[in-house]
Amino acid sequence: MDDTMKTLFIDHKVHAKTRSSDFFLALLRQNFKTIDVEYFDIESQNKIKALNGPRVYDLIIIWQLDFLAPVFISLGYPTVVIPMYDGSANLPFEHWMAMNNASVICFSRTLHERVTAAGCRSYLVKYFLQPCKESQLPKFDSLRGILWMRRPQDGLNPKLIDRLLGSQITTLHVHNAPDDGNPRLLKDPVYLVKSFPVTESRWGVTSNDYFLALKRANVFFSPRMSEGIGMSMLEAFANGLLVIANDDAVHNEYVANWVNGILIRPDITNVFELNIQEAKDLAYNGWFGSVNGYQEWLDTRMHLIEFIKDTMLMPMTTCKANPHFMSAILDAYSLGADAYGHFLREHILSRHSIEHNQKIALPLRSLFHKLSCNSSVLDAEGLFFGTSPKSVANKFGFDKFDSFTAYLSSQMAGFSVTHNEFIKTDSEIVLSIFCQLENDDDNNWLMLIYINQTLITQKMLPKKKCDFTIEIPVLKGASSRLDVLFSFIPSQLDFINIELPILKFFSVHLLEI
């Protein structure tokens, strides 16, 4: 055990309740003397103490909230990140490139592949739960299904099982505990099946009902389209059930189709025949896989801890802390993969470092090269949005271009300009952006304006249709390249349903005061 190292474990708030990261935390506690835990709520964006107080930690370990990693990396913290496939699979490659100074632990091979291609130091873990004894394996005299109905809205419900297997299933137990919302009414025609009887349980004081049902069943239907670790699937393997799961990670990293389980595609898989002996053989293969897999996991732990500790030896960046960086990156992250990727390209990744990072796969380097944008040169005549030859070409968050205008198309927008040819370095200057609000908007839109990752100012958008100018003071001594970023925050925090203001941008000028 390391007596000196102080480690901070940052996890999603929801795991404080589900305890799904506890096994990992327990492993850390066996090997590191001081582990503090902070839970972060992405919606309320509570402050992370470690970012606001004095520097006390030697190592930061981030579970699932991988978008926080660049913040700690930029502050020079040795950082370990544990992303999950179901949360991070669709993030752009820039996300992983921005973690080149971190260590990454992947419970998914697919993720490990992406992370490695992006040049990260990554450790692949194949986790297994302790299997039951062979004498405790379920009987295969009939096919008895179990479904934890976590995502009925994705079609993973009794109707699907009826369509695929019909009366080959003799009974189905539904654990009616969706991830979102209340338990569903199984008598609702959307879920009602006639080919087999259905029993039901819900979460009670304990999870006993689910586990008792699991013990009675022998065919397990995986409850989600994809998983980060797939604990419920691993439980099924460990208990000798035949696993049937959607063909996506991590299911397809554990289930070799018709070897130790069955992969399906709910939208296209048709009815299939499953005889009892075959189901038994597949289930046995799955169980024995977990027998050896569990032993391998136990053997892996020591190497995993070494991998984590070696993070301390990695070269660290020594950037100066920027108090606004975290909110900027959260804004960008919450606005989707495109805006987030763009933000990272503009603010964290440099083309030079990508091109010279030997570990980044060549195809990704060239991809990055194509995606990276040059800044437009801003001279005394100014620049125009839109399609004109002098357009602010480096754009995101804008759409519907006219000759000299562009409309706002997302809650985050940005562009880059370079200006040093006509401004004296000691002048007081402002960046002046001419805009128009095309509609009346009841929302109180707050506009945060960042230049080169620093929050410079914030303004309220007008409520009534009008032309207006946004003036952004440019700090003395700022570099000649200005990365300008707007983040629009509505007063009502219903990000999904809210409509953007119809905002039209015309031109950018740099003015001496």
Partner: protein, 402 residues
């Protein structure tokens, strides 16, 4: 004994794979014939690897459009990134001239290309052509059916190279030729109307350890039988057939008495085969290693192998040998290969494993090896290795003798 041998491999630029090992093996095997051995690799070979093996770095890399070499190892000259054929030839001649002048190479020396590459070979031929034959060193070209074809214009360079060699031989230049497989040697002999030897890898001390351990043993096979697919995983080496082979075995052998170890695809290829590799990874008892392994890791991999699979693409390997096969036979590891590749003739001739007609036959053949008694297999592999090493070592000596 002659003065110096320059063992040249302009393609030896990556720190892993068979170029480094081949350059090492042939450099050491050449020692009895020369006072000094000077192995020369590409300038792109990382410095630490060159230092470790005592390689000079003298050749620009001419094959950027064939092999992904990270320019970080050495920022290449603008010329070498060009795909222009004439520029490449010019660059190779320039490199070869520099080496020639630096070492003041004479008729007492030898230039040996253990795996001929097109531009390297064309450059030395061009350079020698400017000198009268008696003043030139001996040149040894060993053809393996890979980079002698590689030109930047997309056409196979072999016909042009053979034409020039033929011209030089007729003019009295001292050029000796060999190929890695009998089939390729016969084909080249027919094209050139001259003798072409067959020279596989000479046996090396690294390789014979495994057999020594087996000889000292004698017990039945251990509980776990490890089947390995070594070498850089590539689709042309049957990577995409492995799921069928492994899954068939796993259904028959659910308690995993047979395990599989395979190298994964390089990252660039891997991203296009994620689902397939996931399925391979999902089969219980399958371990996927990194796509690139150091020489030490490769040796370790061979040391745990009970059987090696070579389901290579028969069209691509129609004339080629297999470095993995040569490593295996030298170490006493049986192999199973897909019929059609040139090295299958050697597997059959030496009794070094089995050749099966189709991918579907691999599983059954693996089971045969799993249950054959260890002493029987040891005796068989000892005999295979014995015959192979005599042939390989003698072939090399015979070829090296002027």
């Amino acid at each position: 004994m002659r003065e110096r041998a320059f063992i040249c491999d302009p393609v030896c630029a990556l720190p892993y794979g068979h170029n480094v090992v081949g350059l090492k093996y042939f450099s050491e095997a050449s020692k009895p014939f020369y006072n000094t051995i000077i192995p020369i690799a590409s300038t792109c070979l990382p410095e630490d690897i060159a230092l470790k093996y005592g390689f000079e770095r003298g050749f620009e890399f001419y094959y950027y459009n064939h092999i992904n070499i990270d320019p970080i190892n050495k920022i290449p000259s603008a010329h070498s990134l060009s795909s222009d054929y004439d520029l490449m030839i010019e660059l190779a001649i320039q490199d070869m001239s520099t080496i020639y002048e630096k070492y003041v190479i004479s008729e007492n020396d030898a230039l040996f290309f253990p795996c001929v590459d097109y531009y390297g070979a064309m450059a030395i031929l061009e350079l020698l052509y400017r000198i009268s034959p008696p003043k030139t060193p001996f040149v040894y070209f060993r053809f393996i059916g890979v980079m002698e074809n590689a030109t930047s214009i997309g056409l196979s360079g072999l016909p042009k190279l053979l034409k020039d060699i033929k011209k030089m031989l007729a003019a009295g230049y001292k050029i000796k030729l060999c190929a890695e497989t009998p089939r390729y040697a016969d084909s080249l002999a027919s094209d050139l109307a001259t003798f072409v030897n067959v020279v596989p890898y000479p046996t090396h001390t690294d390789m014979i350890k495994k057999l020594t351990i087996i000889e000292g043993g004698g017990e039945e096979y251990k509980d776990i039988f490890t089947v390995v697919c070594p070498g850089s995983a590539r689709c042309d080496k049957g990577y995409l057939d492995l799921f069928d082979i492994f899954s068939t075995i796993r259904k028959i052998d659910p308690r995993q008495s047979i395990k599989f170890v395979v190298q994964g695809l390089p990252v660039a290829d891997s991203l296009q085969h994620t689902s397939y590799t996931n399925q391979l990874y999902a089969i219980p008892g399958v371990k996927i290693l990194h796509s690139t392994l150091s020489e030490e890791e490769m040796n370790e991999l061979y040391s745990l192998s009970d059987l090696v699979l070579l389901p290579y693409d028969t069209a691509i390997y129609a004339f080629r040998g297999s470095a993995v096969f040569m490593e295996c036979i030298s170490r006493g590891i049986p192999v199973i290969a897909l019929a059609g590749s040139a090295f299958c003739d050697q597997i059959i001739y030496y009794g070094a494993g089995s050749v099966v007609p189709e991918i579907g036959s691999f599983a059954n053949e693996i089971l045969q090896y799993r249950y054959v008694s260890k002493p029987t297999l040891i005796t068989k592999m000892y005999q295979a290795r014995h015959r192979y090493s005599i042939d390989a070592d003698y072939a090399f000596i015979q070829w090296m003798t002027p």
